[in-house]
Amino acid sequence: MTFHVVVGVRLKEGLLDPQGKAVESALPSLGWNNVSHVRVGKEIELEVDAPDEAAARAQVTEMAERFLSNPVIETFEILQVSQLVALHPSDEKAT
Protein backbone atom coordinates (compact mmCIF):
# COMPACT_ATOMS: atom_id res chain seq x y z
CA MET A 1 0.00 0.00 0.00
CA THR A 2 1.13 3.52 -0.69
CA PHE A 3 0.54 6.34 1.73
CA HIS A 4 0.73 10.04 1.11
CA VAL A 5 2.22 11.73 4.17
CA VAL A 6 2.56 15.42 4.97
CA VAL A 7 5.08 16.48 7.60
CA GLY A 8 5.09 20.01 9.00
CA VAL A 9 8.42 21.37 10.25
CA ARG A 10 8.54 24.54 12.33
CA LEU A 11 11.22 26.54 14.07
CA LYS A 12 10.99 26.00 17.82
CA GLU A 13 8.95 28.51 19.77
CA GLY A 14 11.10 31.31 21.10
CA LEU A 15 13.67 30.96 18.33
CA LEU A 16 13.86 34.18 16.30
CA ASP A 17 12.40 33.66 12.82
CA PRO A 18 13.77 36.47 10.60
CA GLN A 19 11.77 35.19 7.64
CA GLY A 20 8.54 35.47 9.62
CA LYS A 21 9.57 38.97 10.73
CA ALA A 22 10.18 40.04 7.12
CA VAL A 23 6.76 38.74 6.05
CA GLU A 24 5.17 40.43 9.05
CA SER A 25 6.72 43.78 8.25
CA ALA A 26 5.54 43.55 4.61
CA LEU A 27 1.88 42.89 5.47
CA PRO A 28 1.00 46.46 6.57
CA SER A 29 2.08 47.78 3.15
CA LEU A 30 -0.67 45.60 1.67
CA GLY A 31 -3.20 47.06 4.06
CA TRP A 32 -3.15 44.43 6.79
CA ASN A 33 -2.26 46.27 9.95
CA ASN A 34 -3.72 43.69 12.31
CA VAL A 35 -1.21 40.85 11.92
CA SER A 36 1.49 39.82 14.39
CA HIS A 37 3.55 36.74 15.35
CA VAL A 38 4.15 35.56 11.77
CA ARG A 39 6.27 32.39 11.63
CA VAL A 40 7.35 30.60 8.48
CA GLY A 41 7.70 26.82 8.49
CA LYS A 42 7.84 24.16 5.83
CA GLU A 43 5.76 21.26 4.72
CA ILE A 44 7.29 18.09 3.31
CA GLU A 45 5.16 15.69 1.28
CA LEU A 46 6.17 12.11 0.66
CA GLU A 47 4.74 8.87 -0.61
CA VAL A 48 5.68 5.78 1.35
CA ASP A 49 5.12 2.14 0.50
CA ALA A 50 4.27 0.35 3.73
CA PRO A 51 2.11 -2.60 4.84
CA ASP A 52 -0.25 -0.36 6.81
CA GLU A 53 -0.80 3.18 8.03
CA ALA A 54 0.86 2.60 11.40
CA ALA A 55 4.04 1.38 9.69
CA ALA A 56 4.05 4.36 7.31
CA ARG A 57 3.59 6.72 10.23
CA ALA A 58 6.39 5.05 12.21
CA GLN A 59 8.81 5.26 9.29
CA VAL A 60 8.09 8.91 8.58
CA THR A 61 8.43 9.72 12.29
CA GLU A 62 11.91 8.20 12.23
CA MET A 63 12.80 10.10 9.03
CA ALA A 64 11.60 13.32 10.62
CA GLU A 65 13.58 12.73 13.80
CA ARG A 66 16.80 11.81 12.02
CA PHE A 67 16.75 13.91 8.88
CA LEU A 68 13.70 15.98 7.93
CA SER A 69 13.96 18.11 11.07
CA ASN A 70 16.77 19.12 13.41
CA PRO A 71 15.63 18.69 17.04
CA VAL A 72 18.02 21.44 18.16
CA ILE A 73 16.04 24.11 16.32
CA GLU A 74 12.85 22.57 14.99
CA THR A 75 9.75 20.61 15.90
CA PHE A 76 7.79 18.43 13.50
CA GLU A 77 4.30 17.10 13.26
CA ILE A 78 2.76 14.55 10.92
CA LEU A 79 -0.09 16.61 9.54
CA GLN A 80 -1.74 14.04 7.32
CA VAL A 81 -1.52 10.39 6.33
CA SER A 82 -3.77 9.12 3.56
CA GLN A 83 -3.77 5.92 1.59
CA LEU A 84 -3.35 6.43 -2.13
CA VAL A 85 -5.97 4.61 -4.14
CA ALA A 86 -5.73 6.19 -7.57
CA LEU A 87 -2.92 5.17 -9.88
CA HIS A 88 -0.36 7.71 -10.98
CA PRO A 89 -0.80 8.98 -14.56
CA SER A 90 2.50 7.30 -15.39
CA ASP A 91 1.25 3.99 -13.99
CA GLU A 92 -1.90 4.26 -16.08
CA LYS A 93 0.16 4.71 -19.22
CA ALA A 94 2.15 1.64 -18.38
CA THR A 95 -0.94 -0.58 -18.09
Binding site: L15, L16, P18, Q19, K21, F67, L68, N70, V72, I73
Partner: protein, 244 residues
Protein backbone atom coordinates in the same frame (compact mmCIF):
# COMPACT_ATOMS: atom_id res chain seq x y z
CA UNK B 1 59.82 20.86 16.29
CA UNK B 2 59.86 18.13 13.74
CA UNK B 3 59.79 19.05 10.08
CA UNK B 4 57.07 16.50 9.49
CA UNK B 5 54.39 17.81 7.14
CA UNK B 6 51.14 16.31 8.42
CA UNK B 7 48.60 15.18 5.85
CA UNK B 8 45.46 17.29 6.02
CA UNK B 9 42.43 15.98 4.14
CA UNK B 10 40.06 18.61 2.73
CA UNK B 11 36.65 17.16 1.85
CA UNK B 12 34.97 18.45 -1.31
CA UNK B 13 31.19 18.09 -1.39
CA UNK B 14 28.99 19.05 -4.36
CA UNK B 15 28.68 22.79 -3.75
CA UNK B 16 31.84 23.26 -1.67
CA UNK B 17 33.53 26.56 -2.57
CA UNK B 18 36.51 27.04 -0.31
CA UNK B 19 38.15 23.66 -0.68
CA UNK B 20 40.89 25.03 -2.93
CA UNK B 21 41.67 27.90 -0.58
CA UNK B 22 41.76 25.43 2.32
CA UNK B 23 44.18 23.16 0.43
CA UNK B 24 46.39 26.15 -0.39
CA UNK B 25 46.27 27.43 3.19
CA UNK B 26 47.35 24.01 4.50
CA UNK B 27 50.36 24.03 2.17
CA UNK B 28 51.27 27.62 3.13
CA UNK B 29 51.17 26.69 6.80
CA UNK B 30 53.47 23.69 6.34
CA UNK B 31 51.04 20.83 5.91
CA UNK B 32 50.59 18.33 3.13
CA UNK B 33 47.15 19.00 1.58
CA UNK B 34 45.15 15.97 0.48
CA UNK B 35 41.94 16.40 -1.55
CA UNK B 36 39.16 14.08 -0.34
CA UNK B 37 36.05 13.41 -2.42
CA UNK B 38 32.69 13.29 -0.59
CA UNK B 39 31.68 10.01 -2.26
CA UNK B 40 34.84 8.21 -1.11
CA UNK B 41 35.13 6.57 2.26
CA UNK B 42 38.89 6.99 2.26
CA UNK B 43 40.33 10.05 3.97
CA UNK B 44 43.64 9.53 2.20
CA UNK B 45 45.43 8.53 5.42
CA UNK B 46 44.97 12.06 6.68
CA UNK B 47 46.30 13.14 10.08
CA UNK B 48 43.69 15.92 10.23
CA UNK B 49 40.56 16.85 8.30
CA UNK B 50 39.06 20.14 7.15
CA UNK B 51 35.41 20.46 6.14
CA UNK B 52 35.51 23.61 3.99
CA UNK B 53 32.98 26.37 3.36
CA UNK B 54 30.44 26.58 0.60
CA UNK B 55 26.88 25.49 -0.02
CA UNK B 56 27.00 21.70 -0.02
CA UNK B 57 23.95 20.21 -1.76
CA UNK B 58 22.63 23.74 -2.30
CA UNK B 59 21.89 24.06 1.43
CA UNK B 60 18.67 22.15 0.67
CA UNK B 61 16.49 21.13 3.63
CA UNK B 62 18.94 22.72 6.12
CA UNK B 63 22.56 23.76 5.79
CA UNK B 64 24.73 20.68 6.14
CA UNK B 65 21.73 18.35 6.53
CA UNK B 66 22.42 16.31 3.40
CA UNK B 67 26.22 16.52 3.43
CA UNK B 68 26.35 14.85 6.83
CA UNK B 69 25.16 11.61 5.20
CA UNK B 70 27.91 11.61 2.54
CA UNK B 71 30.11 8.49 2.58
CA UNK B 72 33.18 10.59 3.50
CA UNK B 73 31.34 11.87 6.57
CA UNK B 74 31.08 8.34 7.99
CA UNK B 75 34.86 8.22 7.91
CA UNK B 76 35.14 11.77 9.31
CA UNK B 77 32.83 10.83 12.19
CA UNK B 78 34.88 7.71 12.96
CA UNK B 79 38.11 9.74 12.69
CA UNK B 80 36.76 12.41 15.06
CA UNK B 81 35.47 9.83 17.54
CA UNK B 82 38.95 8.28 17.58
CA UNK B 83 40.38 11.68 18.57
CA UNK B 84 41.47 12.88 15.12
CA UNK B 85 41.62 16.68 14.73
CA UNK B 86 38.79 18.09 12.59
CA UNK B 87 38.23 21.72 11.60
CA UNK B 88 34.85 22.77 10.20
CA UNK B 89 34.75 26.15 8.50
CA UNK B 90 31.42 27.88 7.78
CA UNK B 91 29.46 25.21 5.87
CA UNK B 92 31.84 22.69 7.48
CA UNK B 93 30.77 23.96 10.91
CA UNK B 94 27.12 23.56 9.87
CA UNK B 95 27.80 19.99 8.72
CA UNK B 96 29.54 19.10 12.02
CA UNK B 97 26.54 20.44 13.98
CA UNK B 98 24.10 18.48 11.82
CA UNK B 99 26.24 15.37 12.30
CA UNK B 100 26.09 15.82 16.06
CA UNK B 101 29.90 16.12 16.25
CA UNK B 102 29.49 19.67 17.59
CA UNK B 103 26.74 21.09 19.81
CA UNK B 104 24.10 23.61 18.71
CA UNK B 105 22.94 24.60 15.25
CA UNK B 106 23.35 27.44 12.75
CA UNK B 107 20.29 29.24 11.47
CA UNK B 108 19.35 32.23 9.30
CA UNK B 109 21.15 35.46 10.23
CA UNK B 110 19.19 37.79 12.46
CA UNK B 111 19.01 40.49 9.77
CA UNK B 112 18.24 38.01 6.96
CA UNK B 113 21.05 39.57 4.91
CA UNK B 114 24.08 37.63 3.75
CA UNK B 115 27.09 39.18 5.50
CA UNK B 116 30.47 39.32 3.80
CA UNK B 117 33.16 41.35 5.54
CA UNK B 118 36.25 41.31 7.71
CA UNK B 119 35.46 41.03 11.40
CA UNK B 120 37.35 40.50 14.64
CA UNK B 121 36.94 37.53 16.93
CA UNK B 122 38.17 37.22 20.49
CA UNK B 123 39.77 33.96 21.52
CA UNK B 124 37.81 32.63 24.51
CA UNK B 125 39.36 29.21 24.86
CA UNK B 126 42.35 28.62 22.60
CA UNK B 127 42.14 25.03 23.68
CA UNK B 128 39.03 23.50 25.19
CA UNK B 129 38.43 23.34 28.90
CA UNK B 130 38.87 25.97 31.56
CA UNK B 131 42.60 25.34 31.97
CA UNK B 132 44.59 26.88 29.13
CA UNK B 133 47.35 24.60 27.98
CA UNK B 134 50.68 26.27 27.43
CA UNK B 135 51.97 23.97 24.72
CA UNK B 136 51.56 24.53 21.00
CA UNK B 137 48.18 22.83 21.02
CA UNK B 138 46.43 26.13 21.59
CA UNK B 139 45.13 28.78 19.22
CA UNK B 140 45.98 31.61 21.55
CA UNK B 141 45.56 33.09 24.99
CA UNK B 142 42.16 34.19 26.20
CA UNK B 143 41.44 37.70 24.91
CA UNK B 144 43.71 37.47 21.90
CA UNK B 145 42.13 39.07 18.81
CA UNK B 146 42.07 37.59 15.33
CA UNK B 147 41.12 39.41 12.14
CA UNK B 148 39.23 37.04 9.84
CA UNK B 149 36.55 37.31 7.15
CA UNK B 150 32.98 36.02 7.35
CA UNK B 151 30.62 35.34 4.43
CA UNK B 152 27.40 33.58 5.29
CA UNK B 153 23.62 33.86 5.32
CA UNK B 154 23.03 31.23 7.98
CA UNK B 155 25.59 31.70 10.70
CA UNK B 156 23.51 32.48 13.75
CA UNK B 157 24.66 30.01 16.39
CA UNK B 158 21.82 28.75 18.58
CA UNK B 159 21.52 26.18 21.34
CA UNK B 160 19.15 25.65 24.24
CA UNK B 161 19.74 27.80 27.33
CA UNK B 162 20.83 24.70 29.19
CA UNK B 163 23.28 23.71 26.46
CA UNK B 164 24.73 27.25 26.34
CA UNK B 165 25.35 27.18 30.09
CA UNK B 166 27.04 23.81 29.72
CA UNK B 167 29.24 25.06 26.84
CA UNK B 168 30.33 28.13 28.80
CA UNK B 169 31.06 26.09 31.94
CA UNK B 170 33.03 23.46 30.03
CA UNK B 171 35.14 26.05 28.20
CA UNK B 172 33.90 24.95 24.80
CA UNK B 173 33.34 28.47 23.44
CA UNK B 174 36.34 29.00 21.17
CA UNK B 175 35.63 32.47 19.70
CA UNK B 176 33.26 35.38 20.09
CA UNK B 177 32.52 38.17 17.62
CA UNK B 178 33.81 41.47 19.00
CA UNK B 179 34.79 45.04 18.14
CA UNK B 180 38.23 45.72 16.60
CA UNK B 181 39.54 46.32 20.13
CA UNK B 182 37.94 43.25 21.67
CA UNK B 183 34.66 44.53 23.08
CA UNK B 184 32.09 41.74 22.98
CA UNK B 185 28.69 43.38 22.49
CA UNK B 186 25.56 43.02 20.41
CA UNK B 187 26.71 45.89 18.17
CA UNK B 188 29.52 43.65 16.97
CA UNK B 189 27.41 40.54 16.51
CA UNK B 190 27.10 40.19 12.72
CA UNK B 191 24.41 37.50 12.67
CA UNK B 192 22.68 37.41 16.07
CA UNK B 193 24.58 34.39 17.41
CA UNK B 194 23.84 33.45 21.03
CA UNK B 195 26.42 35.09 23.32
CA UNK B 196 28.29 36.33 20.20
CA UNK B 197 29.60 32.78 19.69
CA UNK B 198 31.62 32.46 16.46
CA UNK B 199 33.14 29.03 17.07
CA UNK B 200 32.91 26.05 19.44
CA UNK B 201 34.92 23.00 20.48
CA UNK B 202 33.57 19.53 21.06
CA UNK B 203 33.93 18.11 24.57
CA UNK B 204 37.19 16.32 23.88
CA UNK B 205 38.69 19.34 22.12
CA UNK B 206 39.67 17.63 18.87
CA UNK B 207 36.82 19.05 16.80
CA UNK B 208 36.53 22.80 16.17
CA UNK B 209 33.88 24.58 14.15
CA UNK B 210 33.67 28.28 13.30
CA UNK B 211 31.79 30.54 10.90
CA UNK B 212 34.76 32.85 10.03
CA UNK B 213 37.18 31.72 7.33
CA UNK B 214 40.75 31.15 8.58
CA UNK B 215 41.76 29.73 5.18
CA UNK B 216 41.22 33.17 3.59
CA UNK B 217 43.44 34.84 6.20
CA UNK B 218 46.84 33.14 6.08
CA UNK B 219 48.75 34.86 3.28
CA UNK B 220 50.29 38.21 4.37
CA UNK B 221 50.35 39.32 0.73
CA UNK B 222 46.57 39.20 0.66
CA UNK B 223 45.60 40.84 3.96
CA UNK B 224 45.32 40.08 7.68
CA UNK B 225 46.58 36.72 8.86
CA UNK B 226 44.19 35.96 11.71
CA UNK B 227 43.59 32.52 10.26
CA UNK B 228 47.17 31.36 10.85
CA UNK B 229 46.89 30.40 14.54
CA UNK B 230 43.74 28.39 13.80
CA UNK B 231 45.37 26.34 11.03
CA UNK B 232 48.51 26.13 13.15
CA UNK B 233 46.44 24.44 15.89
CA UNK B 234 45.15 21.91 13.35
CA UNK B 235 48.65 21.12 12.10
CA UNK B 236 50.07 20.85 15.64
CA UNK B 237 47.23 18.54 16.65
CA UNK B 238 47.90 16.45 13.53
CA UNK B 239 51.64 16.28 14.30
CA UNK B 240 50.88 15.24 17.88
CA UNK B 241 49.04 12.20 16.50
CA UNK B 242 51.75 11.21 14.05
CA UNK B 243 54.50 9.06 15.56
CA UNK B 244 57.74 11.00 15.00
Amino acid sequence: MSEHRPRVGVVTFPGSLDDRDALRAVALMGGDPVPVWHADRSLGEADAVILPGGFSYGDYLRTGAIARFAPAMESVAAFATAGGPVLGICNGFQILCEAGLLPGALVRNRGLAFVCRWITVRVEHGSPGSAESSDNLTIGREGELLSVPIKHGEGRFVASAEELRRLEAAGQVAFRYCSPVGLVSDDFNPNGSAANIAGVWNEKGNVLGLMPHPEHAVDPDLGPTGGQPILQWLLSAARARVPA
